[in-house]
């Protein structure tokens, strides 16, 4: 077994890190270099990642782990290291590929931005942290990179910090994911407490929890699994912590593609996949994951219908697709979840970059102000269409195969979630049809000349479109390559997948047809629903009032508590300090007045002191 490239896998995250350091060091003088350094760094990682992946594909399941001792505390030892499994090798390629394409794309999209160098350094830092997260071999290392990724997300969402909305979105993204991070931290502490030898590395976690050996009590296992899932919920934008993801669309569009569609939000799914044995040891946790995922998939898909901002529609579709992945993991299908993550990364990055190309051309994000772009932006239109079809689950595009894998599992395991998945798939294809038809067909609405974006922006679109078509064939009902390679077990049960394929295709096609009827042909009036049930449309447009509910239930009481604590600080704590200070000042003033140079005063005080002394001495004799 040759592990040549896996042995140097630690170099993969280092390339972008070096790029980040270089850009940081060059400061303002490096404005022109940003693009080159960032792109070269990510290209180097991409090449090495592909080599590692090929090595892993060549002769079956392979594993490489290396690291060094970080902290030695008595019997406990903490290592920092990396490990390359088939799962992480796959993730490496996904992350570096999307990162590289986003780097190329941003050269066109961010052209002329005066902070483009900073932008590239942030992307490089993000790529570094994400790759570190993927390669981490224990929970603590993973947590460190997990937080770094969160910081990068904060920096990039708030990249245009002069916009108040971007500032608010960055803060929201940071604070909301922090709630999830707290859960993950507690889970890690619990693991540390209950694991034999306080081991935190994934290998030993796997050994302990595999087959429910009972080393860790069932209740604790469930608690740990749920808390890890809370972390994943925060990062992957699952209900109820999904609120930050749509707001994060205030960041530059390439960032939305890289972080908030393809890679970072997948970190939650990756985390659950990585600690899958803990989840499998606890049926209750698995059920929670499945139901939260299923609910999020449907919930976000319905919101997507009523949004008007092109990026927000895609954001809600991301939330919804991540729900699918979680549902697959919760139903026990590691392959399904990771497969969907893999295909979704490509077609969602494609959709976001396509949206960026559109926004770049028309300078608006409202789809009602667009129209008729299809003839003017042919490449964008075609590639966007491919992405939309892949997302809608139309064969033979990649999304079809991965969604099919998930739905087949759901049909076997839990018919309720199967129905939920099918309904969500219908809504998905409907809102994508709405988006596509409103933007690319019909009459142009905006003024000014609209032209296709530059080559640096269209080439990544074409490459991603190729992946969006082809990536699905690694795992089909007749071909379990990915599943066997990923889990090492024989292929999943595919009986009944024929039915699933027919149903999901039919539902997807129905959604698109309905979208065509409403938004192109006009057979069904566009206000058919809004005129009859305005409350329903309002409910969807306001995203089920989740933000408002949070503001009323959580933000306001916390603000109240904050101002109360502030008042305590200001009046009680500061008051005590003011009293102490005032006493010292008063004492000083008294001291000054005593020093008046009058011998008689000094004498008087001396006498008084003597009298007090005598009283004390005599008094002691009387009272003691």
């Amino acid at each position: 077994m040759n592990t040549m490239f896996s042995e140097i896998a630690w170099l993969i995250p280092l390339f972008p890190f070096v790029a980040f350091l270089l850009l940081l060091a060059s400061g303002r003088s490096g404005q022109g270099l940003g693009v080159t350094i960032g792109t070269v760094g990510s290209l180097a990682s991409l090449v090495l990642s592909i080599l590692v992946l090929m090595e892993h594909m060549s002769d079956g399941s392979k594993y490489y782990q290396d690291g060094f001792k970080w902290i030695d505390l008595g019997s406990f030892q903490l290592n920092i290291g990396y490990e390359v499994t088939n799962l992480s090798a796959l993730m490496l390629v996904v992350v570096t590929a999307v990162s590289f394409l986003v780097n190329v794309y941003s050269a066109g999209y961010m052209k002329g931005d005066e902070r483009i160098s900073t932008f590239y350094s942030y992307i490089a830092l993000f790529t570094f942290s994400m790759l570190g997260l993927v390669l981490a071999d224990n929970m603590l290392t993973l947590y460190i990179f997990w937080e770094l990724v969160g910081v990068c997300s904060f920096l990039l969402v708030g990249f245009w910090f002069t916009k108040p909305a971007a500032r608010a979105a960055a803060k929201k993204a940071f604070i909301v994911t922090r709630i999830g991070d707290a859960g993950l931290l507690i889970a890690i502490l619990l693991l540390f407490w209950y694991m034999p030898d306080h081991a935190l590395d994934f290998v030993r976690i796997e050994n302990v929890f595999e087959g429910q050996s009972g080393t860790v009590a069932a209740g604790v296992t469930t608690l740990i699994a749920i808390l890890i899932f809370v972390g994943a919920v925060g990062k992957s934008g699952q209900f109820p912590l999904h609120v930050w993801l749509p707001d994060a669309m205030e960041g530059p569009t390439p960032i939305s593609a890289l972080i908030h569609a393809a890679t970072m939000v997948a970190a939650g799914v990756y985390l659950v996949a990585r600690t899958f044995d803990i989840f499998q040891a606890s049926p209750a946790a698995m059920e929670t994951v499945a139901y939260v995922g299923g609910f999020t998939a449907l919930f976000a898909a319905t919101i997507g219908i009523a949004q008007n901002d092109i990026k927000r529609i895609l954001a809600y579709s991301t939330v919804s697709q991540l729900g699918y992945m979680m549902m697959a993991l919760g139903l026990g299908s590691l392959t399904g979840g990771i497969f969907h993550l893999f295909t979704h990364a490509f077609f969602k990055a494609l959709l976001f970059l396509g949206a960026g190309s559109i926004i770049h051309a028309v300078h608006t994000q409202n789809i009602n102000e667009m129209g008729g772009l299809g003839s003017k932006m042919r490449i964008t239109a075609w590639t966007f269409g491919i992405g939309a079809l892949a997302l809608s689950g139309i064969p033979p595009f990649s999304g079809f195969w991965s969604k099919d894998a998930i739905l087949t599992t759901a049909l076997h395991e839990n018919p309720v979630l199967f129905v939920v998945g099918i309904i969500a798939a219908f809504f998905t294809s409907f809102y994508m049809a709405r988006l596509f038809f409103l933007v690319f067909t019909g009459r142009p609405k905006g003024e000014g000349r609209i032209h296709e974006s530059s080559l640096t922006m269209t080439i990544p679109l074409i490459i991603l479109a190729v992946f969006a078509i082809g990536a699905g064939f690694v795992e089909t009902p007749w071909n379990n390559t990915l599943g066997e390679w990923l889990t090492g077990a024989a292929g999943a049960d595919h009986s009944g997948s024929g039915l699933v394929m027919v149903v999901s295709t039919a539902v997807g096609a129905l959604g698109i047809y309905l979208g065509w009827l409403v938004f192109v042909k006009g057979t069904i009036a566009r206000d058919a629903v809004s005129s009859r049930a305005p409350w329903l449309v309002g409910l969807l447009e306001r995203k089920y009032y989740i933000d408002e509910i949070y503001a009323a239930v959580i933000v306001k009481p916390l603000r109240g508590l904050g101002s109360l604590l502030n008042a305590i600080d200001q009046y009680i704590i500061d008051g005590i300090i003011a009293i102490i200070g005032g006493t010292a000042v008063l004492l000083g003033r008294g001291g000054i007045r005593l020093q008046n140079g009058q011998v008689q005063t000094y004498g008087l005080i001396t006498v008084l002191g003597l009298v007090i002394l005598i009283i004390a001495v005599v008094g002691r004799r009387f009272w003691s």
Partner: protein
């Protein structure tokens, strides 16, 4: 008998102390200090006559004290006159050199 002497001496001392601390005229302050000294002398004499180990040593000591008190009064008056020449006042409130 002893306690009467001591009582008179104590009263004398207190009057002296009061005057020394309160009076504004420097000459009176000086006189009050003499009063306090004499209260001490009275004590010494009383103890030498009626004390437990009565002896003449106390009275001898008193003579010395009177002599030294006379010298001290002379020095005090001299300083006071010098001060009066320099400052033009005998009010002790105006003597606040120690403040500076």
């Amino acid at each position: 008998m002893l306690s009467s002497y001591l009582m008179v001496a104590a009263i004398l001392f207190c009057i002296g102390l009061y005057g020394a601390l309160v009076k504004k005229n420097a000459v009176i302050v000086l006189l009050c200090i003499e009063l306090m000294l004499n209260a001490v002398n009275l004590n010494l004499v009383a103890f030498s006559k009626y004390g437990v180990g009565a002896s003449l040593t106390g009275q001898m000591f008193t003579l010395f004290t009177i002599a030294i008190a006379a010298a001290e009064a002379a020095v005090g008056i001299a300083i006071l006159i010098a001060l009066f020449r320099a400052r033009g006042t005998v009010n002790v409130d105006d003597y606040d050199e120690m403040r500076r």
